[in-house]
């Protein structure tokens, strides 16, 4: 039941919204409270728990997914606004059981993570960065472009190295 400033008591939800979108290539639907954030829809309705809620205030980037091919913060996006659009999450970078996406492989090889909480957001941000700025990324550029991604474990050194390597590897791969 939902409280509301207008009556402060339990009320029947009257404003549900039917949504449909393509997530990781698959059409999905939902009938949701419009207040549902995209990150909640992905994690709770679709059980795609690779996308994380870190700060919940659009700063840390643990929630980054691709919306119509562009990195966005899913904790600050309403699921209803994504109705009719395409979403790609970390799970969508490579099929289950298939070889890792080159950016994922780079994070593995260059030890770009410790606890792994920021990692899906880092990888999704990195893939978007390559789409926008190409395959030859300087450390300085990578560090600037990670303005919206926070890591509490690594000190970023190996994240930057992983992204530089992953960017080069993506040039030789079909996986965009």
């Amino acid at each position: 039941m939902t409280a509301s400033p207008r009556n402060g008591t339990r009320t029947k939800r009257v404003h549900m919204a039917k949504i449909s979108m393509i997530v990781n290539g698959n059409p999905v639907t939902g009938n949701i409270d419009p207040r549902t954030l995209l990150v909640q829809f992905l994690r709770e309705n679709l059980r795609l728990t690779g996308t994380h809620v870190g700060c919940d205030t659009s700063q840390c980037g643990a929630c980054v997914v691709h919306l119509d091919g562009k990195a966005v913060k899913s904790c600050t996006t309403l699921a209803v606004m994504a109705d009719g659009h395409e979403v790609k999450t970390i799970e969508g970078l490579a099929a289950d059981g298939a070889p890792l996406h080159p950016m994922q492989e780079a994070f593995r090889e260059h030890h770009g993570l410790q606890c792994g909480f920021c990692t899906p957001g880092m990888i999704m941000t990195a893939v978007d960065l390559v789409h926008r700025k190409g395959h030859d990324l300087s450390d300085h550029l990578i560090r600037e472009e990670l303005e919206g991604n926070l890591c509490r474990c690594t000190g970023y050194q190996n994240i930057v190295a992983s992204i530089a390597a992953g960017a080069k590897a993506m040039a030789k791969s079909d996986l965009a």
Binding site: S4, D33, R35, T57, S58, V64, K73, T76, L78, G148
Partner: protein
């Protein structure tokens, strides 16, 4: 968040009608101010009107000697547009400094101006360049438009559709970021227009963006950082908080203004 009903108009007129019909409705474009505010329960609009699916309001083009940017143009689009980069590179750089890459994929110029956050970047550019803000009802000059902290001249059923920037001879924007929030602690925009020099400041003033007429007059005589030697801005009326005292901000304005003039001159 508190409950709301979601609306998705396909035209500006439909959006305006929804605003008229629903008194406490709020517009949403990128949502990166409204959604966080609603999550904190600082705003609880019973109706949300999504502008982001209205077509034709996000164009970037030259119209004569003005650069016209549609209200729904995203910061990322302005930052990477070759048209903006050619006509007003300072504006492209400013857009590229807002938030972070993911935020720039959603935030819009219309949203930034309509919100008039005192630490937002676009108001500094709009006031410095004397841009015209076009809505579904009229055209507004910056002095009429910006009316104080989070306040603009926009009426309840009024929606920004376009912002038209005169092209300056030289311009630059220097942003000194708050270390935590990354918003402008102080941001200074300097523009040399055919009509004269303008210096605007965001982040520092408690009422939002303002001009520094004394700096403008000095730079009008000589457009060089040296022209600002010895000139200061009074600390009175500036923000004072844990991130910096009013005196600190006043000092920063002088420093950043000089850097902006130098940057403007160094641009080829």
């Amino acid at each position: 968040m508190y409950e709301f009903k979601y609306h998705r108009p396909s035209t500006v007129r439909q959006a305006a009608n929804l605003l008229i019909k629903n008194e406490d409705a709020k517009l949403i474009a990128g949502g990166h101010t409204l959604v966080p505010v609603m999550k904190q329960r600082l705003a609880a609009p019973p109706h949300i009107i999504d502008l982001s699916h209205i077509e034709g309001v996000d164009g970037i083009e030259m119209k004569g000697r003005s650069l016209a940017i549609g209200a729904l143009a995203k910061h990322a689009a302005v930052a990477s547009s070759p048209i903006v980069g050619e006509a007003i590179p300072a504006l492209a750089e400013l857009a590229g400094l807002i938030g972070d890459p993911a935020v720039r994929h959603k935030g819009t110029i219309g949203g930034s101006l309509a919100n008039n956050d005192p630490t937002a970047d676009y108001p500094a550019a709009v006031m410095a360049l004397g841009a015209t803000i076009t809505t579904n009802k009229r055209k507004l000059k910056p002095e009429e438009f910006f009316q104080g902290l989070f306040t603009t001249a926009l009426e309840a059923d009024e929606i920004i559709t376009k912002v038209s920037f005169p092209v300056p001879k030289k311009a630059a924007y220097i942003k000194f970021r708050n270390q935590a929030s990354r918003y402008a602690l102080v941001g200074v925009f300097v523009a040399r227009l055919p009509s004269g020099v303008r210096v605007t400041v965001t982040g520092a003033g408690s009422d939002g963006v303002f001009r520094v007429e004394e700096f403008e007059a000095a730079l009008q005589k000589r457009f060089s950082p040296k022209a600002l030697d010895g000139l200061t801005v009074p600390a009175e009326g500036l923000n004072s908080d844990l991130h910096g005292s009013a005196e600190y901000r006043a000092h920063l304005i002088g420093v950043l203004a000089k850097r902006a003039v130098e940057a403007a001159n160094n641009r080829a």
